[in-house]
Symmetry: C2
Subunit: 241 residues, 2 copies
């Protein structure tokens, strides 16, 4: 879907009362594009915000350096992949066409939407999250991300995607932007002929569960995740058995 330009302000009606926002702030342009190494500082800040939100900040050991060394080592969709969500009150200029992917994977064309706002959004961190990306449209800020990677189903004998994180910054929530990120991953999986998109949700998060079910997902009630980590994992470095 192409981004619609905001409607011009009507010229033959009286000035709007002050309570109405300027028309340029009533439309929010949102874009989902592949992240690049230069986005790591923003991604790092959002990972930390997510950890704070989940009250797990003490478990968040990610640094810009550790993210840079572990992400962007493979072509998009072949391994760990990040899509970035940017928003702007001005339309986004077109990005250059994505480079041809040598592995034959369909390239990812940025997705752009125009969202009508009831009220303008005040972003207290707009400066910190200012986007330096091409086609940023002036005043564009980074508002969220999704990190995912291929998984595999032996029953289907097909790859899929596993979504590790989906995050929208607090002031941009409840505007359909999380849906836009999830749809971007599901659309790419469907176009690649993949079998499944999976992620996890906390069992008490009824709002999230309802949202995911509305998106078409089934919640698997009987399965539990087993995790081997920390010293229990490192103890295996020197044993075969």
């Amino acid at each position: 879907m192409a981004a619609a330009a905001p409607p011009p302000p009507p010229s033959d009606v009286p000035a709007m009362p002050e309570i109405a926002p300027p028309s340029s702030r009533r439309t929010l342009f949102a874009r989902v594009r592949l992240a690049a190494p230069s986005d790591v500082p923003h991604i790092h800040k959002m990972i930390y915000q997510m950890a704070v939100f989940e009250r797990l900040a003490d478990q968040c050991a990610a640094t810009e350096a550790s993210l840079s060394s572990t992400l962007f080592n493979s072509p998009p969709f072949q391994s760990f992949t990040v899509l970035l969500l940017e928003v702007s009150h001005l339309p986004f200029a077109p990005l250059p066409p994505p480079p041809q992917n040598p592995t034959g994977v369909p390239a990812f064309a940025p997705i752009v939407h125009a969202i009508n706002l009831d009220l303008p959004i005040e972003d207290p961190e707009a400066e910190i999250f200012a986007s330096g990306a091409e086609g940023g449209g002036g005043g564009a800020v980074v508002a969220g991300f999704v990190l995912f990677f291929p998984n595999y189903s032996t029953f289907l004998a097909k790859p899929g995607f596993y979504i590790e994180d989906l995050f929208v910054r607090e002031c941009y929530r409840r505007k359909g932007l999380g849906r836009m990120l999830l749809t971007a991953v599901a659309g790419q999986a469907a176009r690649m002929g993949y079998g499944r998109v999976e992620w996890v949700v906390l069992d008490w998060n009824v709002n999230a569960i309802k949202f995911y079910e509305d998106m078409g997902a089934k919640i698997l009630q009987d399965w539990r995740i087993c995790r081997l980590t920390g010293e229990a994992l490192s103890a295996y470095a020197n044993i075969d058995y």
Copy 2:
């Protein structure tokens, strides 16, 4: 751990009564090695057996062709990776050294163990699962596999491994062979400096849960898997939003 040769039969004692197995059948040699494309027919048969065991045979759409086209497309450990379990009543000959991995990932040296059996194992499918691999030791059969691939933790900013399937053929169960496969994956993760090894278990499978806890895993009780698949997923092919 090197494989111990079976003890020579004592020469100064009377012949054992017929109920005792020949000494060569009291020791089972087990080897875990990287699977190769030529192992696909055996892997396919085991995936189908697993589906039957889980009463999900109707959901198993894997064929030899679909497995061949989706596995073995990347160097080991970079994407979907299969380790194969073989057993033999004769010691395994050494395999040639693994090829140098161009990505700098530690090569996987086959793991071999000798297991003392109380009773010889009758394998009704020994012919079907005869291993044609080098160093098969004569009479070697394929007895199980583990399929896994990299996952990623943003909090750790580190890759890990996710185990999709771990399977040991029925007549070889309860001999420590599942532990050997799981240990092979955990050991490789630990040596690669990875942060986590994860997999899932059915919540009513108390024996499996106890086994995994004994291996050092924590069971995450609060998380549920969300899955988007089938028509609900393919519907996303043509929508952005």
